[in-house]
Symmetry: C2
Subunit: 123 residues, 2 copies
C-alpha cells in the first residue's frame, strides 16, 4: 500500500488547490486549502476550501448547491499545490460561469455561462 | 477593442499561475507570476514566472529546453489567479514527468514520464 504524500502547508498553513473538471479537463477555479479543509474533502468526498477573506473553512456549493464531488486529489512534485479532479454541479464561478477563468487577459469573454447568479445567490 | 484585465497582484506582488496543456487540457504545473513575469510572458510568448525561493524572474525551460509557448493567458473572476494555456516542450516537471501532478495524495504514481532528468539537469 502506498503512503499518503505529506503536504507542505508552508508558513501560512494553506496550499493552493486547482479544481479541474474530471471529465472535460476544464480548469474551473483555484482556491486555498488548509489541513482541515483537505481532511474534510477526503472524508466527505466533497471539495472543501479555506477562505482567506472570511477566515473559515467552507464547502464549495454548500449555499448554491453547486457542489464539487472529488474523484481524485493529486499533489505536485513539491507537495505544496493540490489538484482536485471534480464532478462540478452547474458552475464553479459565482458569476454564473462554468469556470472562473472566463476571460482572457485582453478582456475577451471566452467562458460559458451556465446559470443566473441572481437566481442563486441572495446578495 | 476589449481592455486588459487589471490583475490584482496583492500584498506580495505575486499571483499563482496554472499552466495547462492547450491541446490535451492536462494541468502541468503551478508557479507564481510577478508583474514583470507577466509582461515578459506576453511580450515573448514564452511562459515566465517568478521564483519565490531564488527571488528572481525565470523563463520556464530556459536551461532544460522544456519551454512553454503560451497560446492564451486567462484571468479568474477575482483577477488574482492566471491560467496559461501552453504548448509544453517535453515535460513540465523537473522529475521527468509531463505534469508536476504525477501522484495522487495516497501516493499512487499516475503521471507519465517523458524524459530522464539526469540527462537534462546538471545537478
Amino acid at each position: 500500500m502506498d503512503d499518503d504524500v505529506a503536504v507542505d502547508f508552508g508558513e501560512d498553513g494553506l496550499v493552493p488547490a486547482v479544481a479541474q473538471d474530471a471529465e472535460t479537463g476544464e480548469v474551473l477555479m483555484l482556491a486555498y486549502v488548509s489541513p482541515d479543509a483537505l481532511a474534510k474533502t477526503r472524508e466527505t468526498g466533497f471539495a472543501h476550501y479555506y477562505s482567506r477573506s472570511r477566515d473559515e473553512l467552507w464547502q464549495k456549493g454548500k449555499t448554491s448547491g453547486h457542489v464539487q464531488r472529488v474523484e481524485e486529489v493529486r499533489v505536485d512534485c513539491d507537495a505544496d499545490t493540490l489538484l482536485y479532479l471534480v464532478d462540478q454541479e452547474a458552475g464553479a464561478c459565482h458569476t454564473g460561469h462554468r469556470s472562473c477563468f472566463y476571460r482572457t487577459i485582453e478582456g475577451e469573454h471566452v467562458g460559458e455561462e451556465v446559470f443566473d447568479p441572481d437566481a442563486v445567490y441572495d446578495d
